[in-house]
Amino acid sequence: MELILVNVIDGLVTGLLLFMLSAGLTLIFSMMGVLNFAHASFYMLGAYFAYQISLALGFWVGLLIAPLIVGVMGAGVERYGLRRVHQYGHVPELIFTFGLALLIEELVQFVWGKNQMAYDIPDILNFTAFSIAGNSIPAYKIFMIFISVGIFMGLLYVLTKTRVGMIIQAALSYPRTVEALGHNVPLIFMGVFGVGTALAGVAGVIAGPVLGTFPGMAFVLGSIVFVTIVIGGLGSLWGALVASLLIGWITTFAKSYNIAMSDILNGIGIATPENLSDNMFRDLWTVTSPQIADILPYILMVLILIFRPAGLFGKRES
């Protein structure tokens, strides 16, 4: 029972981290119709910038400044890169962001090398907040939860309650009309791209100390972010939140409990074959939940695409 509570907290942390990445990506997609392959690379840049700043000025300054730098870089990429490529259609845009992802990874390796960086949790947060049956919950995890919930609240408020948010939402659906009303739509696009990448930067800053800061960190997280926004529904902030939490909890619970496939099959009335080593379904019988935990989100994505192609909260038909 206690372990369930611990896993709920762990899954929440994983899910919220994923949310910060997918929120930006899904906003950018709904606005521009571009899948930004370089999104996870901005997450990596956030971690590296924060590490570099934390060496000189400490963690907290890094937390403030690194996302700003990443956001400005993101806005620059939109203004001087994507906007020019945009007129040639979606495929060049995809290729552009894909190339950018490779470029950023090489650049990071060039500047910082291929080693793990010693980017650490600040001392003030380096203690155990509380323990549940011997499992300690680090204070840093609580801090991560607060930061990401805060960001979600802020985003939701800006998007639904403020004038800027209304213009953004209008520009999502009817960009030409909004432009005709005298709003600078390209500027809005640039702003959204900048904010989206800055969010990825924040995720990098706070995830770097726990998940490790190394050149492969974007690669490890890259594909799961796309899965998240597909499950949640492209362009939906609530969808991104629900899908992130769902993935966080599914993978955490699947890894924490050794549920064997043979138990499930026996449970639904199929007996274990006698000669398991000769059986053609041997691999299926011997599989356990931790082994397949990381592909469960992909299975979920396939199911969602079959039964609800627009995603959990998506509005788009096509």
Binding site: K114, N115, S131, A133, N135, F214, F219
Partner: protein, 414 residues
């Protein structure tokens, strides 16, 4: 006058030919390991150590035979067996006769098979496989062949020495085994279970599991299981980002005991572990560097640090590979006939500058050497890793570990 021109042209031509001949005289060693992706740091650091060892131990001392230099040619295999086979073919096509690889036994298994086939079919362009770190026991047992030489101790030898140290601790009651889901992780788990059950039958193995290699983002769920199992020791063979992720996660989430492992040092890991893992991580390896064994080793390490201020010698056996290969080529009198070189390597006894002797066992091509168990600490450290002040201090040594261990290898010689 016409003749003069001809003479000039001929001599110029011969100069060019001579120059290319001298250039081609370099003895090339293909280094096939990950230079990009999640394990890039491990691969790149290995490459630097190879290049330095070749320059420092061979080239700067006048080369081998009549002044031939060693040249390390890097190939990026992205840790994929499929990619490695392509790179192997490229290397062979470039006329390279020596293949060095170490990261991932999955890759090594693919390479050793491909090399055995290639050598059988193409007796004119045979190659040798210098395995410096892939420690799946099968490579020198069921899958052994004449072309494969392993310079690191295999997983069984390491686990034997490691469990000797563990067994001496009477307070240890519950052990958790966790590793990467591929041949090496499975070999470590099997060796750990076998050794523990014979040396300490009273110890309970409370967990034995594998996780996907290089794909786990967050080790927290695994750490929770380990803590919940009540384990007071962990055994893992993890390396690279998987080692750091697992180690940091278990320590942060309330695990109090030691971690017994193979590869938890260098490549930024020592710095990232820092204070949190002091006296917690115990590593088994060959060639301890604290305390340093010889003055030659000290000078070598100082020179390495001068060239790569950010680097570490965390795989000192690479220097043994270069040293033993040079000795074998000198002994054979040729670098082109790899059978002669292999015959020299077989049964070779080599005095390592890192201390002790290395004996290349002829029956299975497994190097037998001293094994050291060290602890991650910042006390008595001459040579730290990652400029962090922390390093690995040797606590105990097993001389010529597993010298008489059995092997199932039936070596077929050409």
């Amino acid at each position: 006058m016409k003749n003069m021109t001809k003479l000039g042209a001929v001599s110029a031509l011969s100069l060019i030919v001579g120059a290319t001949a001298a250039f081609a005289d370099n003895i090339k060693i293909a280094f096939i390991d990950p230079l990009s992706g999640p394990f890039a740091s491990t691969g790149t650091n290995g490459l630097h150590q190879y290049q330095f060892a070749a320059d420092h131990m061979v080239n700067e001392k006048g080369g081998v035979l009549d002044g031939q230099n060693f040249e390390i040619v890097p190939f990026d295999n992205k840790i994929s067996p499929k990619e490695s086979l392509i790179q192997l073919q490229v290397a062979i096509d470039q006329g390279i006769r020596y293949i060095a690889q170490g990261n991932s036994s999955g890759v090594a298994n693919a390479l050793t098979e491909a090399i055995a086939k290639h050598n059988k079919r193409n007796p004119d362009s045979r190659v040798l496989f210098l395995n410096y770190a892939a420690v799946d026991p099968a490579l020198t047992n069921d899958k052994c062949n004449f072309w494969h030489f392993r310079f690191d101790a295999n997983a069984d030898i390491k686990m034997d020495a490691l469990t000797d140290v563990m067994a001496a601790d009477d307070s240890m009651k519950k052990v958790y085994i966790i590793g990467q889901d591929y041949s090496f992780g499975k070999a470590v788990a099997a060796a750990a279970v076998a050794n523990l059950s014979s040396k300490r039958p009273d110890v309970e193995i409370v967990g034995n599991e594998l996780h996907p290699i290089g794909k786990v983002k967050d080790f927290t769920p695994y750490a929770r299981k380990i803590v919940a199992s009540g384990a007071d020791a962990i055994i893992t063979g993890n390396w690279g980002a998987d080692m750091l992720g697992l180690g940091k996660s278990v320590i942060e989430n309330g695990y109090e005991g030691p971690i017994f492992t193979y590869y938890a040092a260098g490549s930024g890991m020592t710095a990232a572990f820092g204070e949190s893992a002091k006296d917690r991580i115990r590593l088994i390896s060959q060639g301890g560097i604290n305390p340093i064994a010889t003055e030659e080793a000290r000078a070598t390490y100082d020179a390495f640090e001068a060239k790569y201020p950010e680097g570490n010698i965390d795989q000192s056996r690479i220097f043994n590979v270069i040293g033993m290969l040079a000795k074998a080529i000198e002994g054979a009198g040729t670098a082109d006939d790899v059978v002669a070189v292999a015959n020299q390597l077989e049964g070779m006894e080599y005095d390592s500058m890192w201390g002790g002797k290395i004996f290349m066992r002829p029956q299975d091509h497994q190097a037998i050497q001293d094994m050291h168990v060290g602890v991650h600490t910042n006390e008595n450290i001459d040579f730290d890793y990652d400029n962090s002040g922390y390093g690995v201090f040797t606590e105990s040594t097993v001389t010529m570990a597993s010298m008489d261990s059995p092997t199932t290898c039936k070596m077929k010689r050409p």
